[in-house]
């Protein structure tokens, strides 16, 4: 079996993993289905043996980098260790087999976990209520901004048509605002990575529905003027949205609720150590201050004297509603719950501390080997930005070249070209679960690459050399679209 084959290329007419299917059903038993509604040709799914499937996907998996194999310092992604214990707990038959619409009598164990998780997240964020249903950060953002909208609408405050977003914001922020029917107005960020307060004040007004921001920001620094920002937005009648993608940095140290945020989402697949799964699933619970409580998305878990209950539209008539068919990514929530109870109070506080320690250490060491910090006068939060603008100019190597070369050193590349306002940048987030040696090895690799950039830039242009493929032609991919295998 060629390790580079597509599963379709292994397919042979009539082959099957036959232990997996029940015996065929004879045509006459399907007579109730009218002929014109029946399928005429078999779908071109692969026809392969069970071992071929196992071998194919095992071999494919080996073509991935993963936290289980490599340091993976993707900024803003919080690639920390995903405890295997959380996986085992969430995969217990009692959880896996539970139908989402099972009656409450058969849901007490599950509801208890959700309820406890809601309480845990409230305390750790300082918010007054939490709903767990959003299925990812972006859906959490949607829920949050939808609640802001519902709030203004409930007050008949119809003039508020604009959401402010700092320049450095993650793309989901403006995209979300638009999905909620808002216009987006960008607010500049100053040279120190902070929001330009004067510009913000100027932007605030009767149209302002709210401001979406992270803190620490995607510039990797803590927004020191957060209180002034909150004041400006609140005074203008807007609400403050906290994008919790960077919550890891401040977990246990400052709480979004205490900073004045009205609504937040958390990326449990970042801060609460649930796995990214090659692109999901995640979970993006939302937390709100008092005034947004009525709008939380349903269903939520409630507790009464005779057990746990679902809270739906009956209890929350002003809810923004249901964001998916059921209750969000339950399996992810269970993993996050496991993580929460293992860490507990002290563990939560340690997350912020040690992720910040790691980032500041790594930044210092990288500066020592010649890398340029975007904000050299600032503390790093749990992440920080390097800029290779100098190297790009001097040697003609881009941040992308350096990123690709890192792969050859068995190091996953940091986030590149984000935030957009810093040229040729790396956003680097080591997390609290990497040992000092792992950070040091990354520094060694970067030191080598900095030398290579100078001495043999063409080496970097050609990188990577050690991966299953060399650098890929993205332009061809987009121009000559090939999205589906066909015979």
């Amino acid at each position: 079996m060629n390790v580079n084959s597509l599963i379709f290329e292994l397919s042979h007419q009539g082959r099957a993993a036959s232990a997996q299917a029940p015996k065929p059903v004879s045509e006459d038993k399907l007579g109730a289905i009218p002929a014109h509604l029946r399928r005429q040709e078999k779908p071109a799914l692969p026809q392969v043996s069970e071992m071929q499937v196992v071998r194919h996907y095992t071999n494919l998996s080996t073509k991935n980098f993963a936290i289980d194999k490599q340091f993976y310092p993707l900024g803003s992604c919080t690639m920390k260790y995903n405890p295997r214990g959380a996986n085992r707990a969430a995969m217990l038959p009692g959880f896996l087999q539970r139908h989402p619409l099972a009656p409450e009598s058969h849901s007490q164990g599950f509801l208890a976990c959700l309820f406890d998780l809601q309480e845990f997240l409230k305390e750790v964020t300082g918010m007054k209520g939490v709903s767990l249903t959003p299925m990812a950060g972006a859906q959490g953002e949607f829920a949050g901004v939808a609640m802001i909208r519902a709030y203004h609408e409930a007050r008949g405050d119809e003039a508020r048509t604009e959401i402010l977003v700092p320049q450095a914001a993650h793309g989901t922020n403006p995209a979300t605002a638009v999905m909620c029917g808002y216009k987006v107005r960008e607010v500049p960020v100053n040279d120190e990575g902070d929001v330009d307060l004067e510009a913000l004040k100027a932007a605030c007004g009767p149209n302002t529905a709210g401001l979406m921001m992270t803190n620490p920001s995607t510039c990797g620094v803590f927004e020191r003027e957060i209180e002034a920002i909150a004041r400006a937005v609140h005074e203008a009648g807007g609400l403050l949205y906290y994008d919790g993608a960077n919550l890891n940095a401040i977990l246990g140290k400052v709480r979004p609720g205490d900073m004045g945020f009205d609504v937040i989402h958390m990326n449990l697949h970042k801060t609460f150590a649930t796995p990214h799964g090659g692109g999901g699933p995640g979970a993006g619970p939302v937390g709100v201050s008092e005034r947004l409580l009525p709008y939380l998305p349903t269903p939520m878990a409630g507790k009464t004297d005779d057990g746990y209950k679902w809270l739906g539209e009956e209890t929350l008539p002003e809810t923004i509603g249901r964001l998916s068919a059921f209750m969000g990514n339950a399996g992810v929530l269970l993993r996050a719950y496991f993580y929460a109870i293992v860490l507990g109070r002290e563990g939560m506080i340690r997350v912020g501390e040690y992720s910040t320690l790691a980032a500041n250490y790594l930044l210092k060491r990288l500066q020592d080997v010649g890398c340029t910090a975007a904000y050299p006068d600032r503390r790093a939060s749990h992440e920080f930005i390097l800029t290779f603008a100098k190297e790009a100019k001097a040697y003609g190597v881009s941040a992308m070249d350096m990123a690709k070369r890192l792969l050859d050193y068995n190091q996953h590349a940091p986030t590149t070209y984000f935030p957009l306002l810093v040229p040729e940048c790396f956003l680097i987030e080591p997390t609290e679960t990497e040992a000092k040696e792992a950070l040091d090895e990354f520094v060694d690799a970067m030191e080598n690459i900095m030398r290579e950039a100078k001495e043999s830039p063409e080496l970097l242009h050609g990188a990577p050399y050690t991966q299953p493929v060399r650098r890929l032609d993205d332009v061809k991919a987009a121009r000559e679209l090939d999205l589906v295998w066909r015979k």
């Binding site: 692969p46 793309g171 986030t415 032609d473």
Partner: protein, 455 residues
């Protein structure tokens, strides 16, 4: 310190390098009065052993019932290989494949997934998944508004035979953009959406018609007629389908004269456990001409520097990280791992395996319906043929009957009292996991309960 590797020596060395006296110093940019207190309400940490014991005890509480509920989530046999492979660290703990060269595993899986789903639905292209079927329908509605250049309308036709949970999620997703969902009534005899009931909308501007097959009642709609009607009236046709059923039923790409424009559905039946509702994944396909309006990630096949085949994210100019406020959607993280599991599932089942799963579901449902209807006062509500769900009317109010059956560890279906004002009706589902004894046990229990429960 669970999961934190730093020894006190490490910490000291790191602080020395930084030039800080303590970890606390690293937070000196944070205004002191903002700092969090001791988080008193949080519990002490547990060991893995303790946490596992607690969760195992809770999982056990919910265990042991026979489940005949469907309504959007379906119990199927899941080959062991599916999750043993999907939870391999390399799939489980990788991020979104932004560094293509170091993510060929995930990328090829997605390309294979896109291909399988496109073949199953009979469509040209697929994306790499959306959150779930219901929110996927919301995205499909927004996409239809963008894609339907002929229509200026912000209105979409939605039959009431579409799963109420889907309708409600769609509303939540789309209404902030001023989109209006107009509900189309169904035929109370057949349990399907009739062409006649659509007549009233002819001549008006609607962007799209949603068509569910099978519909929420399990009934089969006349999809060809509905699709043709929609397209003849300047609307796009959005199909909502059950993927298992597609092994037997006509794929939406072939509905009507031209096939539908957009297909969405819940991917859960393809190897994803019930798991209390998630993580599942929504699949989404469309005709080639609409591909640039598709939300979410899409993987393309290309070549590397040396001409070797490889896979990469493509058409990223639709996505939020490039296009920001002009993106087709705000979706970023999707349901990658569940989609990976589905890809493995579809490979293991193949076209014939999936057809026999679908066949057994259908046959078992018919069989249970027969057994139930043999009980006095119990009957089928609708006349249209069904796939693997059926609406059954009881001689008494459904709620107490369902509760009594749950006491016997039979989750016998869901009541249609609230969503359809049919207090005596239940929606029942049977898949290939049930044996004839299971069906008999259900029928016997129902007979017993009906004899007991007062109406």
């Amino acid at each position: 310190m669970p999961y934190i590797p730093h020894t006190s020596d490490d910490v000291q060395a790191m602080l020395d390098t930084i030039g800080a006296a303590s970890i606390e110093d690293l937070f000196d940019e944070i205004p002191a009065h903002l700092k969090a207190g001791q988080l008193e309400k949080l519990p002490d940490g547990l060991s893995e052993m303790e946490a596992t014991a607690r969760m195992a005890a809770r999982a056990k509480q919910d265990e042991g019932a026979q489940c005949f509920i469907g309504a959007g989530a379906y119990e199927h046999h899941i080959p062991a290989a599916v999750w043993e492979l999907a939870t391999r660290g390399e799939f489980y703990t990788a991020y979104t494949p932004y560094q293509a060269e170091a993510s060929q595993g995930t990328l090829q899986v997605i390309y294979e997934y896109q291909s399988m789903i496109a073949h199953l639905t009979g469509m040209d292209v697929s994306n790499a998944s959306v959150y779930d079927g219901a929110s996927g329908l919301g995205e499909a509605v927004l996409m239809a508004l963008r894609a339907n250049r002929k229509s200026k309308s912000h209105r979409v036709l939605m039959p009431q035979t579409v799963n109420p949970l889907y309708r409600s999620a769609t509303h939540a997703v789309v209404h902030n953009q001023g989109v209006e969902i107009v509900e189309v009534p169904f035929c109370s005899e057949q349990g399907t959406t009739l062409l006649e009931s659509l007549k009233q909308y002819e001549g008006e501007d609607y962007a799209a018609l949603v068509i569910a097959q099978p519909n929420f009642f399990g009934s089969l709609e006349d999809v060809d007629a509905l699709t043709n009607w929609a397209q003849a009236n300047g609307m796009l046709a959005i199909a909502v389908v059950n993927p298992t059923s597609l092994a037997l039923l006509k794929p939406p790409g072939q509905w009507g004269d031209n096939g539908v424009d957009i297909v969405v559905g819940e991917g859960q039946p393809l190897g994803v456990p019930l798991s209390s509702g998630g993580p599942y994944f929504g699949f989404m396909c469309c005709a080639q001409k609409h591909v640039r309006q598709m939300p979410g990630r899409i993987i393309g096949c290309t070549v590397d520097l040396e001409g070797k085949r490889g896979f990469t994210l493509t058409l990223q100019a639709r996505e939020q990280h490039i296009r920001r406020s002009k993106a087709t959607s705000n979706i970023c993280t999707n349901q990658g791992l569940a989609m990976t599991a589905a890809t493995i599932y579809m490979s293991l089942l193949g076209p014939d395996g999936l057809a026999s799963v679908a066949g057994h579901c259908h046959v078992n449902t018919q069989l249970l319906a027969e057994k139930l209807c043999a009980i006095a006062g119990v009957k089928k509500v609708f006349s249209a043929p069904t796939f693997h769900e059926v609406v059954i009317e009881l001689p008494k109010a459904a709620a107490p009957v369902l509760a009594a059956l749950a006491q016997k560890n039979i989750l016998a279906g869901i009541s249609l009292a609230q969503d359809y004002a049919m207090p005596n009706a239940i929606l029942v589902c049977v898949t290939e996991t049930k044996t004839e004894q299971d069906l008999d046990a259900y029928a016997q229990a129902l007979a017993a309960v009906l004899a007991e429960v007062s109406a």
